[in-house]
Symmetry: C2
Subunit: 192 residues, 2 copies
DNA sequence: ACCGTTGGTCAACGGGTGTTGGCAAACGTG
DNA sequence: CACGTTTGCCAACACCCGTTGACCAACGGT
């Protein structure tokens, strides 16, 4: 046995594994869960479909391994209250444009129950804590975080998935300028 | 030939055709395009899968026939300017909850290119004209309508497709109270 | 009462899918 | 060098899909 520690075995096949994950992310983002076939992913990665099964067990296992999301949400604590909206929107836009994982997740979340549950988990584990930092009333944190999610996900849906032309045409600055006050209000404004 | 006019032939099979369309809408809304199989739809409708082919030609033809969307958007002309936001949000919520077609369309729009184009068409043909009625600057109508779409679709996504628990828990009145000012601002407020 | 038209079923085809097991080669230690 | 392990390919399985064509039964106008 080369290393007694099971952590990070550093196998010789790591490059292949990574190629599979890359191809899987791309296909899941472009085609959604059903249309992204293991055969196509293997072809993109330049290996045999059976390798995918050996390394990731099943198509579901591959999806779980390929689509892991860390939103890297910033710490809103030290920020002035009136800047949390624009900070969040700016960060979200950057994340959506620098990785295709989020598009893949949204596509799959819209079609399969398992995908929807995955998004619920991300919402709960990553967005809720941030909302807790800036929400005045702890009781209202879930509702306000959910409202924030509707606006952020709605923009992602229109711009990166449906590709509504006017939503694509907007510049990042315009989007921040329009959405930041909305998010700001959902998180910090008193009840309407 | 019973009637010389080809319009509304009123065939004997109309009840079967309607049953197929009903089952198709339900399956497309619940499962998305790929997982909604013709066989399952036919089983729901209580007939043979081949009938679906005879009446609608193909799976795509069935989808086109089953998912036709008329948002029935109200005429915003006579309305006071400050009420257009709440009128739109209220109307959208009612539409989403009274028919499953919109959920089906959103699910399919998120997965297939054809579905996305269908939604683009609905946006352009149905939402844009309404926005034109209330937007101050004609130049900005597409952008403002798109912003409105992001918020409305985002709520539909979170509430009816992803089913984020806090989004489901919100009452209709709460949703209107929170979203109406957002939509109002996107459509009528001066540039930020 | 005939007979073309329509509504409906049945069985099958061709193709693509996820998944499996066997086998050959390359590798990395003893 | 020898040998267990890893990496990879190949061929196949079982299943489900959309789609097709042959066939039967009920209708309805003349």
């Amino acid at each position: 046995m080369p290393d007694n520690k099971p952590a990070v075995p550093s196998r010789r096949s790591d490059t292949t594994r990574a190629a599979i994950l890359d191809a899987a992310r791309e296909r899941f983002a472009a085609d959604g869960y059903e249309r992204a076939t293991i055969r196509a992913i293997a072809r993109d990665a330049g290996i045999d479909p059976s390798m995918v099964m050996r390394y990731y067990g099943s198509k579901e296992g591959l999806f779980a391994a390929a689509v892991t999301v860390d939103l890297k949400l910033p710490d809103l604590g030290p920020l002035p209250r009136e800047e949390v909206g624009s900070a969040l929107v700016t960060h979200f836009l950057a994340m959506w444009e620098e990785t295709e994982v989020l598009t893949a997740l949204l596509r799959v979340g819209a079609t399969s129950q398992a995908g929807a549950e995955r998004m619920q988990g991300i919402f709960q584990d990553q967005l809720l804590p941030v909302a807790r930092q800036v929400c005045p009333d702890p009781e209202q944190v879930p509702a306000r975080a959910a409202l924030t999610a509707t606006q952020l996900l709605g923009m992602a849906l229109a711009r990166y998935v449906l590709r509504l032309p006017p939503a694509v045409a907007l510049s990042r600055q315009e989007i921040v300028a329009w959405l930041a006050p909305t998010v700001q209000r959902y998180l910090t404004a008193p009840n309407p």
